[in-house]
Amino acid sequence: MRKLLILLIPLFIITCNKKDQKSTITGTIYQAMPSFYVYIYKENMDLKGPAFAETISDKDGNFSIQLPPGKYFLVARMRSSGDIAGPLEVGDFKSEVIGPITIDEEGKIIKQDIKVFKKTGENKDIAILENKNQSKTGISGTIYDAEGKPVSGARVHVYDHVQMSERPKFVSSPTGPDGKYIIYLPKGGTYYLAARDKFGGPPKVGDLYGRYDKGTIEPSGVIVKDNEILKNIDITIHRVW
C-alpha cells in the first residue's frame, strides 16, 4: 500500500502540472536587428488590432514566447518610432502572417523563423485621417489635460461598439498645439470616443487616456446625424493609474 502511494503521488503531481504546461514558440527574425515585436494572435482575432500576446526579439533577432494550447498566428513588426502599436509607415519592417500554428497540450518547443521586409509605397492608416471623400458627417472638439490645457499630439479613436475593445474604426490625425481635432465619418450613427497620447494597444499605467463620457464607467455614445459635424465633443485625458 505504501509503495503504491509513493508511486501514485509523483504521478498525481505530474498529471496536475501538465494542465498548466505551456509550449514555447521560438525562432529567429531574418533581418537581425533588435527590438522586433512578435505579435501573437488567436484564431478569428483582428490581425491589426491588439494581440493576444507579444514579445520582443533580442539583439540577434531571437525570440521566444510561452503559450497555452491553441491555434495561433504570428506577425513580426518593427516601427522606426519604436512604438509597440500603431499603423506601419513607409520604412518600418513587417513579416507576412504566419500560421496557424497549433499548440497541443504537451509542453514542447516549436521552431518558427520569420522573414521580414521593409514597408514601401504609400502610408495607409487604419482610418480616415483626411477628408478625402468630402464627407459632411463628423465630430470635432478639443483635447484637454488634467489642468485644462489643450493637448498637442493626442489622437481621437472612434469605435462603433460600446466595449471600445479591438481596433478603433477611425482615428484622427494628431492634435496641434490648440488641442483641436476633427474626424470625418462615412455616415451618421452612434459612436464611442477615446483620446490618448499613444497609438494602439490597451492603455498602460502612466499613459494619458480619456474617454468621452458623462461621468459613467460605460462610455457615452455620441449620436451624429448624416451630414452633421457635431461640435464641442471635448475630451480630457488623464494618467492611467
Binding site: E147, V162, D213, I217, W241
Partner: protein, 302 residues
C-alpha cells in the same frame, strides 16, 4: 576658466537627473520590499520630469504587501509637505492604487483645495478606496467647477457600489439639476431600481435623456408605460433614447411599440428600434436606412 568648467560639469551632472538604470535598480529593490529603495522612488515622485515620475510610480506599484503600510505613510507625509500639482497627482494616484483607507481624511481635505488643479485624481483614488465615509465629499465633488473632477466623482460613486445608493438618494432631492444629472447617470450604472420613483418623477425634466437611459439600465419595469409614451415625443433624441432603453429593459411588452418605431421618420430612431428588437426577439431586424434601403444595424454590443 577652470572654475567655469567645474561649474559646467556639476550643472550637467545635476541636470541629467537619475539614469533609467538607477530607477530600475530602485524598482528592483522596492519589489523585494527594500525600504531604502522605496524611499528613493518616493523622492523621485518629486522630480520635475514627468517621465521620471512615471517610472518611479511604476516601480512603486509593484512593492510587496508587507511594505505597503510604510509606503502609504511616507506618501501621505509627502502630500503634507509638497504642493506641486504633478507630485501630488502621482502621490494620490499611488494611494488609490494601494486602496489606502488611512489616506481618506487627507484626500477629503485635498479635494476642497481649488489650487490643486489635478484634483480629479482625488476622486479617482476615493473610487478605488471605496470608503463610505467619503460619500458626502464625493457628492460635493459632483458640484466642482471642473468637469473632469465632477466626472471622476461620479465614477467614484459607481465604484463604491450599491452601498452608496441611500446617501445618493438622500442628497438627490436637495441638489441642483446639474448635480442631479451626475447622480442619475450613476444610478443607471449601479443598475439598482431603488431610485426608480425619483427617476420617473424627473422623466420630463432637464435631465430627461439621462433619466430615460438610467431607467433602462436599472431595469425599472414600472417605467415601461412612461417610456412607451415618450415614443410620441417631438424630440427625436428622446425617441432614440427610449428605443435604446427598451432594449436594456428587455420586456416583451415593448416589442409592438418598437416595431411601430421602425417606421419613425428619423433614421436613428429606426436603427435603434431594430437594434433593441434584436435584443428582445433574438432575431436580426432590418430597418430602412437614409437611402431608403433595408439595412441591418451594426452591433454595438459585440
Amino acid at each position: 576658466m577652470k572654475k567655469l568648467l567645474i561649474l559646467i560639469f556639476f550643472s550637467l551632472f545635476f541636470a541629467c537627473g537619475p539614469k533609467i538604470s538607477e530607477i530600475e535598480k530602485y524598482s528592483s529593490g522596492a519589489k523585494k520590499g527594500d525600504l531604502r529603495d522605496i524611499k528613493k522612488l518616493i523622492q523621485l515622485l518629486e522630480h520635475p520630469d514627468e517621465d521620471i515620475k512615471v517610472k518611479a510610480y511604476q516601480g512603486l506599484i509593484n512593492i510587496p504587501d508587507n511594505a505597503k503600510a510604510k509606503t502609504i505613510e511616507l506618501t501621505i507625509n509627502l502630500l503634507k509637505k509638497n504642493f506641486d500639482n504633478a507630485t501630488r497627482e502621482f502621490a494620490i494616484g499611488l494611494l488609490g492604487k494601494f486602496k489606502a483607507k488611512s489616506s481618506v481624511p487627507v484626500l477629503i481635505q485635498i479635494s476642497k483645495d481649488k489650487n490643486f488643479k489635478r484634483r480629479y485624481v482625488v476622486f479617482s483614488a476615493l473610487g478605488e478606496i471605496q470608503d463610505e465615509t467619503a460619500l458626502d465629499a464625493i457628492i460635493d465633488g459632483l458640484k466642482d467647477e471642473k468637469e473632469d473632477v465632477r466626472k471622476y466623482a461620479s465614477r467614484a460613486l459607481i465604484k463604491i457600489g450599491p452601498k452608496a445608493i441611500p446617501k445618493m438618494m438622500e442628497r438627490y432631492v436637495k441638489e441642483d439639476e446639474n448635480t442631479k444629472g451626475y447622480l442619475i447617470r450613476a444610478f443607471g450604472e449601479l443598475r439598482n431600481n431603488a431610485p426608480e420613483d425619483l427617476l420617473i418623477n424627473d422623466l420630463n425634466g432637464p435631465n430627461k435623456y439621462d433619466v430615460i437611459w438610467a431607467l433602462g439600465k436599472t431595469g425599472s419595469k414600472k417605467s415601461l408605460p412612461y417610456l412607451i409614451n415618450l415614443l410620441n415625443s417631438d424630440d427625436y433624441k428622446v425617441r432614440v433614447q427610449v428605443c435604446q432603453a427598451l432594449g436594456d429593459l428587455n420586456q416583451p411588452d415593448a416589442i409592438p411599440y418598437l416595431r411601430k418605431a421602425l417606421k419613425d421618420k428619423e433614421v436613428l430612431v429606426r436603427e435603434w428600434a431594430a437594434r433593441s428588437l434584436e435584443v428582445l426577439t433574438g432575431e436580426r431586424t432590418y430597418y430602412i436606412d437614409q437611402q431608403g434601403k433595408y439595412a441591418l444595424p451594426y452591433n454595438i454590443y459585440h
